[in-house]
């Protein structure tokens, strides 16, 4: 990998100051900054090749359609999907999971079926499934056994048999604990039990090598904005034979074959699931982000962020009164922590003054935090452009804040 000091210069937002310090952007689990290559690609698309897609017969719209569909092919390559038809563009992970839950709730899942989740799911992979309760679909949860994020995946079998589980949906990487779940193993287990599987890859896409072929999942969702792409674009991957069984989600133009006043028929996937004018510019940006990340090298990104996180976790551990969540080993680039007697909000307000941008809150993980007796944590999350010096500044600033509040 090119050294992070050098990669930083690809990201215009990172060269700004914050409260008189160089900005240390440590909120990458919420969203990532954008490299110039992505901003350039989107701009140049709008300046040269922009038109609406799919139905135009003139040159400009042929080019726009080709650019949009080539983004779909690029995503298919990136995920090692069997074909571009398995790639549905959405606004992000949240919409991808809503689409799947809504469509599966009317097809793959029957009244009385169960969906198995874990206690560490982001609200995006929990609330859409709760909405299916009114259809008689029941939710079950694999418990998280400790603050390290340990889940006993052996329990899947027993729960699946007892509760007529049809689908297992789990997060690849926990956005609050930094726990990495063994996705390939879990999906193999699901398949052997006859369960469908959904991987929430919001925190892993663009942060490590990610292959649906290797993982063996049936569905996978991610957001572009967490991997260098603009906001408003994301992906639902689904195995073709399953997508063929799913009814549409949103309806309108572009997704219909024939419309009569009294009824309509649908196109095949993926267009069936993309009603209306899509986020064309977003898809172009996502393609550019994938290009950028693959040039940097995803294995290197994974190694770099994991090494920063474990450096941060061990450095922070020496601060009196600190409590660090998440696994001791094999931690993704995320460290959540709380400081005794200092509320997480006060903590990050102080860190902000030192130019350190961290998030405090429930990280859309209320049930998990509640289980740990917490309402909020502070969270540092890293990406390819973060530096060891930034971690050093973080550790020092947390200690300084502790002293300030200790009075």
């Amino acid at each position: 990998m090119r050294p992070p000091e050098e990669l930083r210069s690809d990201f215009p937002a990172l060269s700004q100051a914050a409260h008189g310090h160089p900005l240390a952007y440590l909120d990458n689990a919420a969203t990532t900054q954008k490299p110039r290559a992505v901003l350039d690609a989107v701009r140049s698309f709008y300046e040269k090749d922009y038109a609406n897609v799919h139905r135009g017969l003139y040159d400009l719209s042929v080019r726009a359609t080709e650019a949009f569909e080539s983004s779909r092919r690029r995503v298919a390559d990136f995920l090692e999907a069997a074909s571009p038809e398995e790639i549905i563009f959405t606004r992000g992970t949240t919409e991808a999971i809503n689409l799947l839950a809504s469509s599966a709730g009317r097809s793959l899942l029957q009244h009385g079926d169960g969906v198995l989740l874990t206690e560490m799911e982001h609200h995006a992979n929990l609330v859409p499934w709760q909405m299916l309760r009114s259809l008689g679909i029941r939710l079950h949860f694999l418990p998280v056994d400790d603050e390290q994020g340990t889940i006993d995946w052996n329990r899947v079998e027993e729960i699946a048999k007892k509760h007529r589980i049809r689908l297992l949906a789990f997060t690849h990487v926990s956005n609050s604990l930094g726990k990495v779940n063994p996705a390939a193993e879990i999906c193999a287990r699901a398949r052997s039990l006859g369960l469908l599987s959904l991987v929430d890859a919001a925190q892993s896409a663009g942060h490590q090598h990610l292959s649906v072929r290797e993982i063996g999942c049936d569905f996978l969702a991610f957001s572009g904005h967490k991997m260098c792409a603009p906001t408003g674009i994301g992906v639902l991957y689904g195995r073709q034979e399953l997508l063929d069984l799913l009814p549409p989600y949103q309806t309108g133009g572009e997704m219909i074959a024939e419309v009569r006043l009294d009824q309509s028929s649908w196109k095949s996937p993926p267009h069936r699931f993309e009603a209306g004018t899509p986020n064309i510019g977003g898809a172009i940006g996502l393609r550019a982000a994938i290009d950028y990340l693959q040039t940097v090298g995803l294995d290197a990104v994974e190694k770099h962020t994991a090494s920063l996180a474990s450096y941060a976790a061990s450095g922070l551990a020496s601060i009196p009164g600190i409590r660090i969540l998440g696994p001791r080993n094999h931690r993704a680039g995320i460290v959540s922590f709380v400081l005794d007697k200092v509320h997480a909000h006060d903590l990050v307000a102080f860190l902000d003054q030192e130019g350190l941008a961290l998030r405090a809150g429930d990280h859309c993980n209320q049930p998990l935090l509640r289980k740990f007796g917490l309402a909020a944590t502070a969270r540092a999350s890293f990406y390819l452009y973060n530096l060891r010096e930034e971690v050093d500044r973080l550790i020092e600033a947390v200690e300084k804040t502790r002293r300030y509040f200790a009075g």
């Binding site: 409260h19 007697k341 200092v342 509320h343 997480a344 909000h345 006060d346 307000a349 102080f350 003054q353 405090a360 809150g361 429930d362 209320q366 309402a375 909020a376 300030y404 509040f405 009075g407």
Partner: protein, 146 residues
Amino acid sequence: MELDELYREAILDHARHPRNFGALEECNRSAAAKNVSCGDAIQLFLRLSPAGRIEVVRFSGSGCAISTASASLLTLAVQGKTAQEAEALFEKIQRLLTGTSAPQDELPGDLAVLAGVRRFPQRVGCAMLSWHALEDALRTGEKNSV
């Protein structure tokens, strides 16, 4: 440091040693307020005299330094006031913190230390939390379940 403006010494003192903290069993008004964006939650308990004067006021819950200090200051400020006077105070602090009144329109007494929040819009919700609970407790005639 800019933040000293927000975390004045008095605020830190109230946050570390909140006054009138703990539930009040014998209250005749109470309300809870929750900041959905951060999870901070405050319960406020009042005992109003038949004439409508606040005889006792206490709070419980957990929150950041700003919301805790603001609740603690609230209890001192409204003690002994009539419901109308307390409501007027609520409106004054809301106007001041959300910037719809001029800064020279100062808050009375100890509450003045909250003026620093004005410059941190993301923390106004924290400072207002207990005040919303107060508003709620005064407006709804009967004791609420908290």
